[in-house]
């Protein structure tokens, strides 16, 4: 089990700099007794989870286990029907003001990038800062170029999303979120729609982000990433948290039978 090599070569090639990866005891997200239904289908059942600032959490599990739905509840892309979610000290309720406040503090990266195809890369990155944060255009563009350099594609700034490869698009999507200077980043299967060669470049960007101490929640099947970067791995099945542990323990010594089965299936070949 220990030498089950991750499929992504690039990110394993360098040592992770852990000097800024510190978990504080300040609570970033608090979920208590949360339940969600789609019609009569009970998707999320009694979720209790506390995320501390600086934590890097990987959520994994079979498809349909509710992991995407869980992180989509954190910025109200999905509504929960029972229980309490507090993000950054603000409770998620029907109050539109609170929702907009939380959304502007929480960045999200989607499986299918969801860049705005009618805007250039630069416009994609400056739109929300200009219209939500009221940042002057000049300043927003400088910030955008800073983050585009960080994800290593400043030369694409004036192209349209359709002209970029999948990996590049996903890195732009990450830069677009970062331009809002979020305190928490959510990743919803960010590499699932990418070719293997492009997965590495996106994971590299995510690792750099983790090294800077960003609070991250990632739904992903990249177990190499989980092992290297995460400080906590959560395994979900049938809408419930089945097991959570530190990555070493989680991969080497899984406790529940469901987790063992899942790990043997995704690491077995």
């Amino acid at each position: 089990m220990t030498d089950a090599a991750p499929a992504t070569p690039l990110e394993t090639q360098r040592e992770i700099d852990r000097s800024h990866m510190t978990v504080s005891d300040e609570v970033a997200i608090q979920i208590s007794g949360m339940n969600k239904w789609y019609g009569s289908f009970h998707v999320l059942r009694d979720i209790n989870l506390t995320v501390y600032r600086g934590e890097r959490i990987v959520i994994c599990g079979p498809s349909g286990s509710g992991k995407s739905t869980l992180i989509r509840c954190l910025n109200r892309l999905e509504e929960h029907q029972q229980g309490e979610i507090v993000v950054d000290g603000t409770e998620l309720s029907n109050d539109l003001k609170n929702i907009d406040k939380i959304r502007s503090e929480v960045g999200m990266v989607f499986q299918h990038f969801n860049l705005f195809p009618h805007l250039t890369i630069l416009e994609n990155c400056t739109l929300a800062p200009i219209w939500v944060r009221k940042v002057p255009k000049k300043e927003a563009e400088e910030t955008a170029m800073h983050f585009l350099e960080k994800v290593k594609i400043p030369e694409q700034a004036h192209k349209y999303p359709g002209q970029l490869s999948g990996g590049q698009q996903q890195r732009v999507a990450i830069a677009r979120s970062l331009c809002m200077r979020p305190r928490i980043m959510l990743f919803d299967e960010p590499t699932s729609a990418l070719d293997p060669e492009m997965i590495a470049e996106v994971l590299d960007t995510m690792i750099e982000l983790a090294e800077e101490g960003m609070t991250m929640l990632c739904v992903t099947h990249e177990m190499g990433f989980a092992r290297k970067v995460a400080n906590r791995v959560i395994f979900m099945d049938q809408g419930q948290i089945v097991e959570q542990n530190e990555p070493e323990e989680f991969f080497n010594n899984p406790q529940s039978d469901r987790t063992k089965l899942f790990l043997s299936q995704i690491l077995g070949h």
Binding site: N75, R76, L77, L96, D100, K101, R103, S104, V106, G107, M108, F110, H112, F113, N114, L115, F116, P117, H118, L127, A128, W131, V132, Y160, P161, G162, Q163, R176, S177, M180
Partner: protein
């Protein structure tokens, strides 16, 4: 077995091949003709048949056009000229009716001494549309476009200039109310921005304009709507309908997608009722029935009523076309806009509508073209659009018996307008093309 096989299969490319031009025989005019016109027996037969058909049509139509008479006072004079020049059996068009009645066809019964006013209005209209239609013009010109409707109204109808100015001031009042109230509450501000201007228009605008006019009488001679006719009338109704129905249609489409129960159901009911009844019925409603519902004594301009009906009718269609565009957008676009913290109106204006409208361009322009041609229906409620005028012209003793020339001309004018719209929509689609080529 595997050993021998591996030897024959082994291959390593040492240099990559450069790109090459296609062979010469695979390009050029000859290839096109061979491939598209004469590629097989069936194809050759169809080509020959098509050419024969084109020749048949042209051989009948061309002499009629080429032998046409452009200058005569009546149909009988036309026939005399034809008999003299081309012989009595020649087929000949009498376009003299167009030159003779040109002013009437274009301006209707607008007073001849004021013909410059519709021309100025048209120039104002074109200047106002330019910055809306084409990107190369400075954005500041849009302020002129916003002021143009009031100017154009003033130039066409005349009267005191304070009337249109007082109406325009209503929008400023609305905006000021919105800015003033939005410090307290967004919903209150929106309501105020709708209610206050309406109250202003109903109770303040009229007396204000009257007072200003008595102090400082600036104006043009008033021309009543009854004098409007011809292409001028079609153009005013058509363009006003087009320009007003687009924003209304977009709002209806958004209303139909809304989660708010009352807004949603109102939009659905409006769209279905307007769309489910023929336009001609709405026009009769506008011309006859509306007077029964309005307080006695209110004189509500017939042309204005027609413009309102045509606008409402087209906006129901636009709403459905735009709804198609909205539905075609991936859900991820809505989610990405939400996740960035954009509120509803900003995400609609900046993310959703630009893309949805781009998808809907062909449908929207289709509706516009339909609307523009449907303006000819106003002939049934007694407005003298080109069709109505053609009936009047044919009823006169000079031109009794003329049919084709008038309708060919009217058709051509409509075709030019509609074809330009169609071309513009293709230009716009290409300009907004963002996909990788």
């Amino acid at each position: 077995m595997s050993d021998t096989h591996a030897q024959t299969v082994r291959f390593v490319r040492e240099s990559m091949l450069p790109e090459q031009e296609p062979p010469l025989a695979e390009s050029g005019v000859l290839k096109w003709v061979r491939e598209n016109l004469f590629s097989g027996w069936l194809n050759i037969l169809l080509t020959v048949l098509s050419l024969a058909f084109i020749w048949f049509v042209l051989s009948h139509l061309l002499p009629w056009f080429l032998n046409s008479v452009w200058s005569a006072g009546s149909l009988s004079e036309c026939r005399e000229i034809r008999d003299e020049v081309f012989g009595p059996d020649a087929s000949s068009a009498c376009f003299a009716v167009i030159t003779d009645r040109w002013h009437q066809l274009v301006f209707g019964f607008y007073p001849p001494e004021f013909y410059w006013r519709p021309i100025v209005a048209l120039l104002l209209f074109l200047a106002a549309m330019a910055p809306v239609l084409f990107a190369g013009i400075p954005r500041k010109a849009l302020w002129f476009s916003a002021a143009a409707p009031f100017l154009i109204y003033f130039v066409l109808w005349g009267g005191t200039i304070w009337g249109p100015l007082a109406v325009a001031l209503g929008f400023v009042v609305g905006y000021a109310t919105f800015v003033g109230l939005s410090r307290f509450n967004a919903l209150l501000a929106t309501l105020g921005a709708i209610v206050v201007p309406i109250l202003y228009w109903l109770f303040v605008a009229g007396p204000l304009a009257g007072a200003l006019a008595s102090v400082l009488p600036i104006g043009l001679t008033f021309v009543p709507s009854d004098d409007f006719g011809g292409f001028q009338l079609s153009f005013i109704i058509g363009m006003a309908g087009i320009l007003l129905s687009l924003p209304l249609g977009i709002l209806l489409a958004l209303g139909r997608q809304s989660n708010l129960f009352i807004i949603n159901k109102t939009s659905v009911a409006f769209i279905e009722i307007i769309r489910g009844v023929p336009l001609i019925v709405w026009l009769f409603t506008a011309s006859l029935l509306l007077n029964y519902f309005l307080p006695p004594g209110t004189n509500f301009d017939l042309m204005l009523r027609v413009i309102i009906m045509v606008t409402l009718f087209a906006s129901a269609y636009i709403a459905e076309v735009v709804r198609g565009g909205l539905a075609a957008l991936p859900k991820g676009q809505y989610e990405a806009a939400d996740a960035l913290g954009l509120d509803y109106w900003r995400s609609m204006r900046l993310i959703i509508l630009p893309q949805a409208l781009k998808i809907s361009i062909p449908g929207i322009v289709n509706t516009f073209i339909g609307l523009f041609k449907d303006t000819t229906l106003v002939v049934f409620i007694g407005l003298l659009d080109p069709i109505g005028l053609s009936n009047a012209i044919r009823a006169s003793t000079e031109w009794n018996g003329i049919y084709w020339e008038l309708f060919v001309f009217i058709g051509l004018m409509f075709f030019i307008c509609c074809f330009s719209m169609s071309r513009y929509s293709i230009y716009l689609e290409n300009k907004l093309q963002r996909e990788h080529r």
